[in-house]
Symmetry: C2
Subunit: 195 residues, 2 copies
């Protein structure tokens, strides 16, 4: 990809938001201390998803999480534009600058409500970090980044659907399985329809 | 409210969508059989939220669910317009036409994703039916309505955060607490910030 092409790339959301987050408000402990601005290695970068990330392996990273299907670059760009226009999608990635590759991602989605004084609540979705980058606290880093971002954006809460084996991890970051109210239930439809 | 004013009201989404739902695809059983088009009483109406519902007690119904705070009619209308512009909010209500009052509500929110071939998934939020209308299957009716709507709109799954005491209810409608993956975890922020 030429540097000229890179300059034409769009961010999904304003990258300066990531400079404003207060990691020290989070109960998460990092050892050694890292933040989204200083992620521990000079060749790691935490930033919003960019329109060129199709070519940096963004979908390959997501495929470590679940089924992706066949997605062309045009389909990716259409979905990117749709999310950007709606304005409530904060897909945040970690890039390995040495390889020009996306190695982790987490999505914050903001939902507008009437309850809580027309409040906004946050959903944490699609968290994944490349297996080969273990031991660098990057899972915690990307989750705390979007968790702090949701607070900065004024959400009153953030929640996620969580596998049993990840409960301890999310507890260490400040998430709670509230007694009597911590079940996630799902209905999967047979096939796609009309949207 | 004059009939002239009623004519000026906006629907949050196209009400004809509710005519197209196939209740018989749902595993939910109704006895006697009712649907969103024929909700069992001639004075009950299932429909999208309308801009005039502030004056029909919509917020009072939500207050049976959780804290609402002080919301002026202007704030309500601003949020309504915001949801309508974003296009992915399907707040669906039950009105008692005798009293011109909203007596139940459930919200379907559609989230756009990259995974599952740029699929859409659905969130079920803020389900409430007035206590004094028990025994009319209205809780099941409003949940099945938005569940069928999400399928019609092409979502690949719908999920919700569920209290322990409601697990059996949602199972009867086809929702599953998937083994090893049915936890909901939440982080509540101290105060609102900057959005």
């Amino acid at each position: 990809m030429s540097s000229n092409k890179e300059e034409q790339e769009l961010y999904l959301y304003d990258p300066s938001l990531l400079l404003k987050l207060d990691f020290y408000r989070s109960p998460a402990k990092f050892n050694p201390p890292i933040t989204c601005v200083a992620p521990g290695e000079p060749w790691l970068k935490v930033r919003p998803l960019k329109s060129g990330d199709y070519r940096r392996g963004f979908l390959q990273i997501l495929s470590q999480l679940t089924s992706i299907g066949e997605i062309s670059e045009v389909q990716f760009l259409n979905r990117f534009a749709e999310m950007r226009a709606k304005g409530d999608y904060y897909v945040t990635v970690i890039e390995d600058l040495r390889k020009n590759k996306i190695i982790g991602s987490a999505t914050l989605v903001i939902e507008r409500k009437f309850i809580h004084s027309c409040g906004n609540r946050a959903h944490l979705e699609d968290v994944v970090v490349d297996d080969t980058y273990r031991g660098k606290q990057l899972g915690k880093l990307i989750v705390v980044t979007v968790t702090c971002l949701a607070e900065y954006l004024g959400c009153y809460k953030m929640s996620l659907e969580c596998k049993d084996k990840l409960i301890a991890f999310y507890r260490s970051i400040g998430y709670v399985d509230e007694p009597g109210n911590s079940n996630s239930m799902t209905l999967r439809y047979d096939k796609q329809a009309n949207l």
